[in-house]
Symmetry: C2
């Protein structure tokens, strides 16, 4: 079995075990509370049913109407501000579901809109994240100079710690703001920010759904949109820190293909000019690819504060280390 | 203004315009239908209120109870199968919201679970996607050999067309299956599969929510979980096709940092051994990085069927071309 296949198989095993553990814990944490809620609801609904003597049909109708009316309580969701909010949740894949296209034409447009919008968003936040990292790096260098360090260097650890602080600050700021505007507890507002910025977007807590905020509170609407977009930039900055891992990951493919394609001419014209006699005799095109990629990684780690993962050539470590190394980076 | 900053600014402009256009279209498509639904609901609820003479308080209570009872109609959501389903929607960031942790301890665990699970999932589907692309490439080569082609090559176009066909087949297969099992129209089932596999996950259509399917239909539950995970692998395969774009995107960072860090020693030991006298005198470390990255891209395109984007050195094209080139790749 080839190394990349072993790595893929190991990752699949990791994720299945992770899902099983998660399922067990969520079952333990939520199952009991769910039964309690269910019993309480059944009792209360029974009381009201007896009090007014609904027919079973009307009871069902009342429930259906309540469910259908629920989204409208936030006011008009599809006026421009609401549609803008919805468009953000589509291309960022947050997808709260507080609003979802009700018409078939809306559904069709939504699919095409996501098809173009999601990659565009991915690229944009990657690019903004790279800019943010460059800024953080400059600030850290300046700070170290101020502290009188000669030849200051920004290490991976510096970047990761700074990134964690920026993320924590972003979440805390958002939590404070939404707790104030939505009347949530700080914890619930923090949970809302986390679930939003990871693009999970359950929709159990959704900003701008009270007091027709979308129509009546333009400054708060602007703040919410801006917070989501800036918050995702901060997340993008973290993802950007692992960009070179993709390079390392692709090395395996480069090498495998190189075996079919023969030696890779990465020698560059100038070196060709220098040692013409040696090039044809030089073996191991593939090896020289991975060697250069490894050099790129080492150099990048030393100079950019990137910490590349175990190269696919050393999958023994990559197998267990792969996902773990990446977990560390978030 | 530096080239990467220009690129980032251009992307931000693109995404803002895209959101404005989307908002306008969703407003036009949904706003009218929303008003209609709202009027109809108000009328029906008014009729029932008059029929049974609810107090305003009881009316509100009935609505609250109906909303709280709704998730329970799918049966127990937090038994093992339901919790496994929920765990999938967390680490894949689908986040339907059909179930969301009701307890604070559940919310806390959910945040830590996502923190480790999302990067693990990202890496796993990237890795599986790479394996799938390698398989597709081998199948295409074999097919071309069967057609009697000498020196068959798999081009970017071949890979993209094959990828599109696999995606279309995955969506169509899922749509047919869920239309059958859930009693949805094919269009609605297709919409559900699309919104799920893009990880938007509105939650307006959610599989396994009827007739206590989670408890009573284990084979259908297994199929649904498997479909989501395999479907996301197919999407991962597409994302994997753009892996080398990240390499190209990072070139800019490498070069800028290299300007501070001095010449990059990518010459590799063996060449150092060969031309010792020339190395110290060799200029343009940074240029030689981008040169090698460019060579990697060109070589990879020719040998792997990758089509790298305009390198950040040629941002004139990359500015508008960047996102468009990436859109093409999805």
């Amino acid at each position: 079995m080839r190394e990349p296949s072993v790595r893929a198989a190991a990752l699949v095993l990791c994720i299945l075990s992770y899902l099983l553990v998660g399922a067990a814990v969520f079952d333990a944490l939520e199952s009991e509370a769910e039964s309690g809620r269910q019993r309480l609801l059944a009792r209360k609904r029974g009381e009201l049913r007896r009090k007014y003597g609904f027919s079973a049909e009307d009871d069902h109708e009342l429930e259906r109407l309540a469910l259908q009316a629920e989204p409208h309580r936030a006011g008009r969701r599809w006026k421009f501000a609401g549609s803008f909010y919805f468009a953000i949740t589509v291309i960022t894949t947050i997808g709260y579901g507080h609003a979802a296209p009700g018409t078939d034409s809306g559904k069709v447009f939504c699919m095409f809109y996501a098809l173009l919008g999601i990659p565009l968003t991915l690229v944009t936040f990657q690019s903004l994240g790279e800019r943010l990292n460059a800024l953080v790096r400059r600030l850290l260098l300046a700070a170290k100079r101020c502290l009188g360090l000669r030849r200051p260097r920004v290490s991976t650890e510096n970047m990761v710690v700074a990134g964690l602080l920026v993320c924590a600050a972003t979440l805390a700021l958002g939590a404070a703001a939404f707790a104030h505007f939505e009347g949530w507890t700080f914890f619930h507002a923090y949970y809302y920010c986390f679930i939003t910025l990871t693009t999970i977007g359950f929709g159990d807590f959704v900003a701008l759904q009270r007091d027709e905020a979308l129509q009546r509170k333009p400054p708060y609407v602007a703040f919410s949109f801006l917070y989501i977009l800036l918050g995702l930039t901060v997340i993008g900055a973290f993802l950007n820190l692992v960009v070179l891992r993709f390079l390392a990951a692709s090395t395996g493919a480069l090498e495998r293909a190189a075996r079919h394609a023969g030696p890779l001419r990465l020698g560059a014209p100038e070196s060709r000019g220098r040692c013409p006699a040696r090039r044809p005799a030089r073996p191991g095109g593939p090896a020289s690819v991975s060697h250069r990629v490894h050099q790129l990684e080492v150099w990048a780690r030393d100079n950019l504060g990137f910490s590349p993962p175990a190269s696919p050539r050393a999958v023994g470590g990559g197998r267990a280390g792969g996902p773990l190394a990446r977990r560390k980076s978030i």
